[in-house]
Symmetry: C3
Subunit: 430 residues, 3 copies
Amino acid sequence: MRCLLIVFITLLCCSPVLATETDPCIECHRQKTPAAVLQWQQSAHVGAGVGCADCHGSDHERLLSKEDMVDAAVCGKCHQDEFAEHTGSRHGMGLHAGWGCTRNLAGRDPAECRFCHEEGSTLPVSKVQCARFLKQSSEMGALGCNRCHQVENNCASCHSNHLTDARISEDPKICAKCHMGPDHPQWEMWETSLHGTLYYSAGPEVGPSCQNCHMSSGTHDVSIGLTSPPSMKPYPQEQQLQQRQAMIAICSQCHAPEFANRELSAADIIRQQSLDIIKQAVDVVQDINDRNLLDPKPSDRPAHPLRGHELVTDGQMLYEDYSHLERLLFKMKKYSLAKTVKGAYHQNPAYTHWYGNAELKMDLVDIRSEASRLKQGAGESSVDGKGANKPSIDDALKILKKKFERGAISQQEYDSAKKVLMQKYLESSE
Amino acid sequence: MRCLLIVFITLLCCSPVLATETDPCIECHRQKTPAAVLQWQQSAHVGAGVGCADCHGSDHERLLSKEDMVDAAVCGKCHQDEFAEHTGSRHGMGLHAGWGCTRNLAGRDPAECRFCHEEGSTLPVSKVQCARFLKQSSEMGALGCNRCHQVENNCASCHSNHLTDARISEDPKICAKCHMGPDHPQWEMWETSLHGTLYYSAGPEVGPSCQNCHMSSGTHDVSIGLTSPPSMKPYPQEQQLQQRQAMIAICSQCHAPEFANRELSAADIIRQQSLDIIKQAVDVVQDINDRNLLDPKPSDRPAHPLRGHELVTDGQMLYEDYSHLERLLFKMKKYSLAKTVKGAYHQNPAYTHWYGNAELKMDLVDIRSEASRLKQGAGESSVDGKGANKPSIDDALKILKKKFERGAISQQEYDSAKKVLMQKYLESSE
Amino acid sequence: MRCLLIVFITLLCCSPVLATETDPCIECHRQKTPAAVLQWQQSAHVGAGVGCADCHGSDHERLLSKEDMVDAAVCGKCHQDEFAEHTGSRHGMGLHAGWGCTRNLAGRDPAECRFCHEEGSTLPVSKVQCARFLKQSSEMGALGCNRCHQVENNCASCHSNHLTDARISEDPKICAKCHMGPDHPQWEMWETSLHGTLYYSAGPEVGPSCQNCHMSSGTHDVSIGLTSPPSMKPYPQEQQLQQRQAMIAICSQCHAPEFANRELSAADIIRQQSLDIIKQAVDVVQDINDRNLLDPKPSDRPAHPLRGHELVTDGQMLYEDYSHLERLLFKMKKYSLAKTVKGAYHQNPAYTHWYGNAELKMDLVDIRSEASRLKQGAGESSVDGKGANKPSIDDALKILKKKFERGAISQQEYDSAKKVLMQKYLESSE
């Protein structure tokens, strides 16, 4: 609707309408970039008198040097509401997604800001501060990372470059381009959910698309109704509640609000249960690191680009240059968790259960088994429980101290565990 | 056809036709559940005079407490033939599928009946007796398990809740909702088979859908022509033959019966070859268990909900709380086997070979390697065959005895293997 | 166009047009193979007077014994241009693909020819010389391998058996039938690329299909523009350049050539970076083999069908009867590499990065970890670097020699490494 309005207003302002044959760029570009010209000629921009130079500028040199890129701000000159909604949404921080910029999230840690901003400034010092991105070759970074994360400042991500055809931006397939794959198969889980199957069998009036629920009434704020950031750790209570109410209002266009609330609450519980399983795995990995048994150890391998020679198990975890145990945790946290939780919210049984929950639990089996193997390799324990050389009292106390120092146990738990260890030592040496 | 007939007969009996505006529930529910009302208004039920209360009853309290659920029996009051076909089919035991209820299968073991029924009764004591289900949280069980397995008593699984639109139930996408994923990707393998690609390129008249072959002539008995239960172990000869003939009759609507028979027989052989590979893997796992080398051992871990502290490698195998070795076997039995065998019957090369057969064989590599690692860890053998401490004669005899006791070798094989062992012992101690 | 021409010419030659009811085969086959008859009746062949016997011959006995198969040569009698293009293309060596026949590739090694041909002859002695195929059961070979690779001499692979409907052969789905799965998911990566999503949302005029780029202007030479064989090792410089120019000419139908060149060059770099990662992994595996630590060792396992008791890490690598370490390399080389590289050329971020690059790097983590485990198991090193029994000077020299003999290091590197080893030995024994 707003789109039509803009077209109409622009039509009034820019008469006479730009003739598609008289734009000065056309003559060459019909040869140079035939699809771009043809698509522009078929677009609403033509009727609205928006020609090549209006978006691209007319300085060829700046264009080729990429100084005059058509970024979201260029589109935002006319499409102001959409630009504002987009910028305030999760899409609007696409380039920061790897780092998980917290500027629009509640409960942010101000200390994190320095990764992207000068102290006290809101201007970015760098576009992306994601450990995985920093390890990429520039070619893989451009295609493998930014081709999706550029959504932050690139409307063409969803609208295509020169067409203005709503068939493109309203088709759920356009979301698939990025929202797919092992780390977040939202496309795949929607396509085979009841919503998706009804969309394809009975049409968009019956089966809702991605856009129907996440861009309801045409908003460009795609974050409405989301109750956790990509880490899956839920927002603070109040923010959660607000977001949930917004989503239930959307669900209620079709469903009873009680039904919607019940289903989404069940997914909340599944999210928490899944995070609990992840925690068990992280504990195992940290314990092995306390014991100095990772192979290779953090100290012996290429430095993490943000943390140096440290064990990293949070959102900045890598998928290279570390131990098999950490790689198992990466798969679990990045792939299996996303499938379980997003599968639950998208009501896809095969994703939440088989691709998700079952994998999570098998990942935990694998992680425990690898930990046991590492301890056995170090002679700390064996399959029959009779470890040839269990850690000495000195080592056991050191491991305990590390656990306390990284905050995994409280002062009280530390003291009491120390006492137990000492007691055992005295008994065994009697 | 039968559907139309029912509509017609009902129309005759229930005139004057129910006005969609006068149903007493409509006024509130147009606000409360707008999609439900709209879909019902567009359904054949309206014309047939079937109103809300006809299916849901009119006692709001019982409705909300879920006492008056619209289960398959409610639909079956009118749709009697379909209900009967459905109930007798594999869909009709969806909730028992995890356990693999054998009531409709040949060669069932009566002892198994007590999992679901009181001795001598056909009434169920519990709806589901599946070890994996019993380990689930109720939220995951409801969404991850029952959302599909409820097909037993829920016609809406395939027909949607309020629409009666044949476009939905005749579209293969509706089958995808459940018949997808790592454990049985029938949807994925059909979609990219010749049948599926012709369906989408040349239309349903040329490429057959799921329904064309598995619900031929509109039957609701989806089991027609299947020659093995989900375990993949083929039915007894006679039942197999009967089922095969039924399937070939369906294939012959398009193909020469000889061609259909040849292709299906090749798939039979692939099924047997795959079961043989599985058997090799199960043997390895059982042998490691005989040697007491599983880590953790069955005795040291949470009890299996149906079998306690026992090694379980059959259809009741879990995917949690056990050893890495068993988890490898689970993936092999549950995922790779299904892809190989179902991929063959659905004539999908990539599924039967790459996702199936190649994985099966790599699973076997992984399982043998893990077994070798466990034996090495216990000092039983080493990579150069010179085990530091091979099992003693006493241990070797114990392992052999366990193998005999679980039925893996006959009395004769046991006796002869014992003799060999003793002979070796005598020779080595000379 | 050419197709229409052929139809037209044939119409002129064969009048009066064959009546579909008078073909002598029809009467029986309407019962025996109803779909075949119906599809032929709807095909362009009828109008062109091409009856059953024209393709199948009329000798029933030969037909049933498969002596008179309708192979590509039969179609080629009329469709001469297409047959020639097909035969010269990569499709035209489908049955040799496993072996990677080099007859149409630059830089071929004449010694390889003897796998398929008598010395000095161009006649094949065997259809397929692929180690993986040779290990298959005949049923799996027929369905899992040849159902796709038969494209070499079977036009029906893409055109279906009796229809001549361009909707089938011009639909990208028909390519999916083979170009899918873990080893080369071209279908999946196109479907969710910008090209694929535009195809489905805005139509084939906007989003190009497989055929638009790989069979541009209707050619049947599907190899145009490809710069590497399935091994991904790029062609010699000149051939690469030629192929690239051909592809850019195709891209330029829509895009600026500079843009196309930039994107494809980035993919070239990603290809090389990925091959470098693979090389690191192959080096690890070969080193472990030099140390005699593969479990089982090549000498202790079933012979490789082409190389016997040898470590094979090239295109003839198996996925069975070997060690866990090799199985990890197989997955990396066959699956992860293909996803990274083909994902880059098809401009699919999720495939090139998550399914590709991330897996490649995790595979390398797994391979290094397994190598470390094998070395530890042999007491060669331990997690704290203090290997109980490092290889003796004799063993270290032997390992070095093997490395030299298989060409991994030059004579100079060998000599210098030997000197270092000897020096260390002298120092330690002082």
